[in-house]
Subunit: 306 residues, 2 copies
């Protein structure tokens, strides 16, 4: 018999969904106990519980990003398998990115201003067709964004550590080719996980390499952006605009200049929600593998950080 603890803000919801699946050999417990071998939850909550789960063999994160469980690792030896949420955020992230690209090209916010001012402004609007989008990071989310960008007739560049798995990327860039990758982009979208290699990857040099009409979107993790450099680039019109869903510190402090920066559009870590139905599907799939002693899907590499 396996013992599962649910360490989530939405514990009851997950408990109901998992119980409904009637998984074999599985008991759900509400107690941090010596014999709990499985945990599912938000990485922050799993982190806080790790010291009290000596028998833990497998933890399923409800998020894609698992930074709280990594560097420095809260549990020595990394003696459990950590799996994260993959393949469920791509659609929502693509909707977010495309929504903001279209809002930018179609001047949706300005149209609302024109309406408010009773101004019949029939000047030209832009199109996505023929534009070039650059994706920082092409994992399962990036591949979905790439596929969507191709659907709308864009050219797609991808910057990755080494992988070239998505065939919707027209050209891949790696390593020192970052500034070459940025040259001539209409849109730059960061989807990278938070690791030491991605820290402030969107810095003054990268921003200076972009054309002044470029739009920067960050749906990855906040620390990927050098926030001071972005503010500088926006105020000096080195880039046309930015759309941010994630920040170095969340919620963003009230005195942060982002709140009132023109051409910077904020959302509130809402680009892709973790839907319990989707996440439970991942858990069930992995539980069946676990119960049969097979390797789990979506395993996090503690060295790489994703």
């Amino acid at each position: 018999m396996h013992k599962l603890i649910i360490l989530s803000e939405y514990e009851k919801k997950y408990q109901a969904l998992i119980e409904k699946a009637q998984l074999p050999n599985l008991q759900i417990t509400g107690l941090l106990a010596n014999d709990v071998d499985i945990a599912i939850g938000e990485p922050t909550r799993i982190k806080a519980a790790l010291a009290y789960l000596p028998a833990l063999k497998w933890a399923q994160s409800l998020w894609a990003g698992v930074e709280p469980l990594l560097d420095p690792a809260p549990r020595s030896g990394r003696d459990y398998v950590l799996t994260n949420a993959r393949g469920v955020f791509g659609g929502l992230m693509s909707e977010y990115v495309l929504g903001y690209l279209l809002a930018h090209e179609r001047r949706i916010l300005q149209m609302a201003e024109d309406q408010k001012n009773k101004r019949w402004n029939d000047s030209d609007t832009g199109t996505l067709r023929g534009k070039t989008i650059g994706l920082l990071g092409v994992g399962s989310i990036g591949a979905d964004v790439a596929r969507t960008a191709k659907f709308f007739g864009m050219t797609v560049r991808g910057y990755t550590f080494s992988s070239e798995a998505s065939s919707d990327v027209d050209r891949y860039y790696h390593g020192n080719d970052l500034l070459e990758f940025a040259k001539g982009l209409d849109y730059l979208v960061n989807i990278l996980p938070n690791t030491k290699d991605t820290h402030k990857i969107i810095n003054a040099d990268l921003l200076a390499a972009l054309p002044p009409h470029a739009l920067v979107i960050n749906v990855g993790r906040g620390p990927a952006v050098d926030e001071a450099a972005l503010l500088e680039a926006l105020s000096r019109q080195k880039v046309a605009g930015a759309v941010l869903d994630v920040y170095e510190k969340e919620p963003l402090p009230q005195d942060h200049p982002f709140w009132s920066t023109p051409n910077l559009h904020m959302t509130f870590h809402t680009a892709a929600l973790s839907l319990p139905e989707d996440l439970t599907r991942i858990f069930i799939e992995n539980y069946n593998l676990y119960n049969e002693g097979k390797p789990l899907k979506y395993q996090v590499d503690f060295e790489k950080g994703y």
Copy 2:
């Protein structure tokens, strides 16, 4: 030798593009003359010139809608072939529709308000996946919108006179099934041309058949909407919102209530621009057919009105 007159606001642009194509047996003239057999231009300008073009055999409209040349027909006998612009607006229209659907689901305008008020509002946003979109009219533009809607995981309904050409439409409706078509829609999009059959097709009955969370988009022609009925439906929350690109009278009069109706988002007949490069491509294709005495593409049926 054929003689062409360009009757367009962008005469010089079209002249340069057509001259560059070096079409055989073609002379461009600036004069309304007895021997002009071909005209290209906006329907309003073609209409004004028709009486002075007795030898006209073919007119190529730069717009999809050709109402000014129809009812009542300014030239008796309809003794010339009228072709319109098709296959060039679908991509732009799809971008417009998807842009506003995503802005609606992702609350892009409200997010901008939240930012202005320094409110970290991480409440849930919506998604297109699983939603049902209903297209009033599925010609070449509608087919493109249908294909895009399928790409984002929507169910697609189509209401047409009789055609069922697009395989991206999950279910077709015709004739008296209009209210059945409307039932349960998340989004209603009008793309119909302006004919006597489409006049005020979006009326109080149709609006009442929609669920209260429905969003209504009109990118077809203004007269398709009963404007008073739409205002009533919006003010009584019978529908959630509307996005209008076209109006009964354009530009919209300054005292029209649409300007200041909450949940009504206006654009200014800007959903799909006629790009001279696209339209010249259509003209060249048709000119080559004309010069060889073959039937032209995109012929308007004067009875149907499109």
